[in-house]
């Protein structure tokens, strides 16, 4: 099978980016939108074509990774070489489908949502840049190529969060997102350096080959009581945790909601934020064989984040922030699944994690785009400004309801299947984590329906303009994603994307599915009782849980801790003293040397007075001194 056409998947978006970026000002805004969208349509078709071809060709029951091409980009040493290439394996092909699908939907949706915005062309240029970077990231053949695109994804995210650059909050959010992820990338980079130094390769196939040196002969070096491999894998995970906004590096994601809503759907819900999951999955054999300890860490961090974020989501009033915390929580699920997974036949968690990544991309993008449709209609992000919208916006209402049911895990929607697999995997590995994830499933159902009832039911406030349904460019993506949310659960994922490329045998467990449906129904019912009609119960509950409610409402004050560290410690306790030290001590020394010289020359310059009698006086005393010295020394 010849896959050389896949190079177009990388080339097209970058060409569109350059074209719109350079020419955007000179053409009609709508034209750049259409150009970006039609370009992406072609890319999507190519990706689907690639996926059909790839999943159609098994070699002895399993899928083989294919390196379509490798171009030398930069040579560090004889063995450490950065290539730019394309790697096709079940994981990357699956991501290809997810990214292009969601990106296409967002491109179409934005034609309506962003209509009339200043910088429409710039918006589409950035979307193309993002799509390019994200595709390059998942298709990377080696870890350094991945790092390159990882950074590019970060900067695209920076540019898009700060799209409304005249708004100070957007600028601050963009900066925060970039710096927090940059800090995480520092770990990633050091991790790459350690790993590549000891394995002497960047190449994914060599790194994850079960018979390769990286796995069969990991280094025995130890640093501070932990094996160097574990350090490397944990540091690499740190990069993933930054992008995927795992606790405690999650603080940038809620703020990132300052970007346009379709951007939140694409970058901060469906694609970029799962890059961390993708990263761990990409290196999974290494994690599983050489450093199971780091997988434990990943499981616990994922589990904690999912609970923590779910609790905060129950208290937020900004609908995009609720969704942002929900994203954190769902990515937590994916991390848990990877953390509890084994390799090969024990690889249920791995499969479940990516299955959830797949379904989550659709229903979370749907939720964000639905929220965008609502915001577009009422011109506010706050759920207190909303209510009773179901009669004004029927399509948005139905699709949003489908998405809520999906994320709550109601069968037979896709979220049910993927979450169920995660719970099974967690149950087999660690009962405590299972219990937490089961509880989080209930909280998820509650906060999602709190959101749903508050937007579409409850009491109708006085709207300035009567809200109306969004245009077709916005509703068509909603309908498409709703269909994807309903049916993507039936994709035979265990046959397609597994840790070793072989089909995985899975069973359906009523013992797990039953309780998980039960707790979802309980969550929905509680939300119904509290929020379906306007009443005083929510407030009285909030008052009775005052302390805890306030903590959760303020996101457990993590932002304040960071603010303290960055502003007070780094700014005032490091930078300012450094600047002071430099001006006063280092430069002061230099000035001191200069001033001393001036002083001494001032002191001796009087000797050059031009008066002959003084010169004779110096001359005679000098001669006398010499004579005296000669006599005395003899």
């Amino acid at each position: 099978m010849n896959y050389s056409y896949t190079i177009l998947i990388l080339l097209l978006p970058v060409l569109i980016f350059l074209f719109i970026g350079l020419m955007g000002d000179k053409m009609k805004p709508q034209l750049s939108g259409l150009l970006g969208t039609s370009g992406l349509f072609v890319i999507t078709l190519l990706s689907y074509f690639t996926a059909f071809n790839f999943f159609d060709h098994r070699v002895d029951e399993s899928f083989q990774a294919i390196e379509v091409f490798q171009l030398l980009w930069l040579r560090f040493t004889d063995s450490l070489i950065i290539h730019i290439g394309i790697l096709l394996d079940p994981l990357s092909v699956m991501m290809l489908v997810v990214i292009t699908t969601v990106s296409l939907m967002v491109h179409i949706y934005s034609l309506g949502y962003m209509k009339g915005e200043k910088g429409f062309a710039r918006y589409y240029a950035f979307l193309s840049l993002f799509t390019f970077s994200m595709l390059g990231l998942v298709l990377a053949t080696n870890i350094f190529q991945m790092y390159i695109f990882w950074e590019l994804v970060g900067v695209s995210s920076y540019l898009l969060i700060g799209f409304y650059y005249e708004r100070p909050s957007a600028v601050a959010a963009a900066k925060k997102a970039f710096i927090v992820t940059r800090f995480a990338d520092l770990g990633f980079l050091i991790g790459i350096l350690i790993l590549s130094f000891y394995t002497n390769t960047f190449d994914f196939i060599a790194l994850t080959d079960l018979n390769g040196l990286a796995i069969t002969q990991p280094t025995t070096a130890v640093f501070m009581g932990l094996s160097v491999t574990t350090w490397a894998m944990l540091l690499i995970f740190m990069g993933g945790a930054g992008k995927s906004a795992m606790f405690p590096l999650h603080i940038w994601l809620p703020d990132a909601m300052e970007g346009p809503t379709p951007v939140s759907a694409l970058i901060h819900a469906a694609t970029m934020v799962v890059a961390g999951v993708y990263l761990v999955a990409r290196l999974f054999p290494l994690y599983s064989y050489t450093s199971p300890d780091s997988l434990e860490v990943i499981a616990y961090i994922g589990s904690f984040t999912s609970l923590f974020a779910a609790i905060i989501a129950c208290t937020q009033l900004d609908i995009k922030r609720v969704l942002a915390f929900s994203t954190l929580s769902q990515i937590g699920y994916m991390m848990v699944a990877l953390g509890v997974s084994g390799y090969g036949a024990e690889g249920l968690g791995y499969m479940a994690s990516l299955f959830h990544l797949f379904t989550h991309a659709f229903f979370k993008a749907l939720l964000f785009l639905g929220a965008g449709s609502v915001i577009h209609a009422v011109h506010s992000n706050l759920m207190t400004d909303m209510g009773g919208l179901k009669k004004y916006m029927p399509i948005t209402h139905i699709t949003f309801l489908i998405a809520c049911l999906t994320i709550a895990g109601i069968p037979p929607l896709s979220g049910f299947f993927s979450k169920d697999e995660i719970l099974v995997a967690a149950f087999e590995h660690n009962k405590i984590i299972f219990a937490v994830q089961w509880l989080v499933a209930g909280i998820t159902a509650f906060y999602m329906f709190r959101l749903y009832f508050n937007i579409f039911w409850n009491h109708t406030p006085e709207y300035h303009h009567t809200p109306h349904e969004s245009p077709a460019t916005m509703t068509i993506p909603l309908i498409f994603l709703a269909l994807a949310s309903v049916f993507s659960g039936f994709v035979p994922f265990h046959d397609l994307v597994t840790s070793d490329g072989n089909p995985l045998h899975t069973e359906f467990h009523w013992m797990i599915a039953g309780p998980s449906i039960l707790i979802a129904v309980i969550g929905i019912s509680v939300a119904y009782m509290l929020y379906a009609k306007k009443n005083s119960k929510p407030e009285s509950i909030a008052t009775s849980l005052k302390g805890f409610y306030n903590m959760a409402y303020h996101k457990f004050y993590i932002d304040e801790v960071y603010l303290f560290i960055t502003h007070k410690v780094i700014f005032y306790f490091i930078s300012r003293p450094v600047a002071w030290f430099d001006r006063h001590i280092v430069d002061g020394t230099m000035n001191l040397i200069g001033n001393t010289t001036v002083y001494f020359s001032g002191a001796i310059k009087k000797m050059q007075s031009g008066q002959m009698q003084w010169y004779i006086w110096y001359f005679t005393s000098g001669v006398l001194l010499l004579v005296f010295l000669v006599m005395y020394l003899n």
Binding site: L72, L74, R75, F178, L189, S575, V578, M590
Partner: protein, 497 residues
Amino acid sequence: MNPLLILLIIPLLTIVGIAFVKDLTKVRLVSAIGMSGQLIFSFILLYLFYQQRNTGNTDDMLFVSTTMWYEAFNIQLKFGIDGISMAMIMLTSIVTFAGIFASWQVEHLPKEFFISLIILAGGVFGFFISLDLFTMFLFYEMAVIPMYLLIGLWGSGPKEYSAMKLTLMLMGGSALLMVGLLGIYFNSAPDGGRLTYDLTEIAKVNIPLAAQLFFFPFTFIGFGVLGAMFPFHTWSPDGHASAPTAVSMLHAGVLMKLGGYGCFRVAMYLLPEAAHELAWIFITLTSISVVYGAFGAIWQKDLKYINAYSSVSHCGLVLFALLMMNETATTGAILQMISHGLMTALFFALIGMIYGRTHTRMINEMGGLMKVIPFLSVIYVIAGLASLGLPGLSGFVAEMTIFVGAFQHTDMFHRMATIVAISSIVITAVYILRVVGTLLLGPITNNHYLDLKDAQWFEKISGVTLVIAIAIIGLTPFWLSDLIREPLAQMIQTLTN
């Protein structure tokens, strides 16, 4: 004739041309033509260089020519280049070209200004093609001295103080350097025979260890002062703040590279054993430089100070990488010199252009410039992204090569120093985004800014040239990396044996 001499003849002819024309427009025209010619010629030289290599010429140095200049002390005019000097020549001609266009609006004594600027550039070209320590030193001084006039006459702010400080500190460096060079000269024939300044000859002899240990610090620090090594960097913020745009560009862009280049080609290459013995001191100093400069930049409010401190950080990385003494790290160091040269020249050009419009360099007095001068602002963002190491632009390539190279050392000291240096990528992001956020984004703070005009044609030429160079290196780094690496294999072998 040796094609390298053309690199000196073109500036000379340009200076003569400027001296003979009368009005301002012609002065500009002659300078622009001359330096465009220089740029074109350096591309031709690159082509000739590859042609020589492709026809199987494997000499270390190409286009070598020797003329005895002063028989008594065996001083020669010896020229020749390898891949490293070739790359530095390209850098110099690009930055000079951009610098001429960035100073298009100099109206006070234009003749004298452009002549001094071109003498400076000529000195730099001469330095990079010299293979004789004495001539090298001569060209080095020729590049440093016009700086005094350029800052003192055409500068701004406390220009006399800054010009004096910069010149004196660099002269102090030169004094140390002179001692070092003479030390090398008098030990260049330990087994008897003729003393020599010839770099390639000295590389073949073993200078006694005691002499190496004594003269290495002189030579290294002497060049290090120019390379803004902590704690000898304080001429840089004041000097740049007062210097006119093109002077800052040339100074930070190419003149500071003389420091790094000299540290490697003279101090370390000729005194290898001492370099090994004493590396730990300078590694400590330079890794401090890297972080210290970055932290210092966070606190500054004047755009030129920010960039000057950022240069301390980036140039610190150059020396840091050189001291790692392996092929990869050294390649990274040279790449970083080129990358930093282009980036910082671009920064200073833009700062000059912004200052020309808003008449302030204080970031807290400005805001929202993206809306009124989008062209300059976008280029500023690109320069910023290059500086914080975004892939696809030159900074990333250089930094990653350095980090991978530095990490090849397995001992704790090198590892820790490397991790300290790597952490600068986060701090850099902080100050760059702070500047971009306050200066360019956000609402417009001053209503007078609403009618600012965006870049004029000559400003566009200057900015776009540098951006293109940064992007070419960032997108296709392999050729430059191979060009630089080619002579290094042999040099590093000398260093490690």
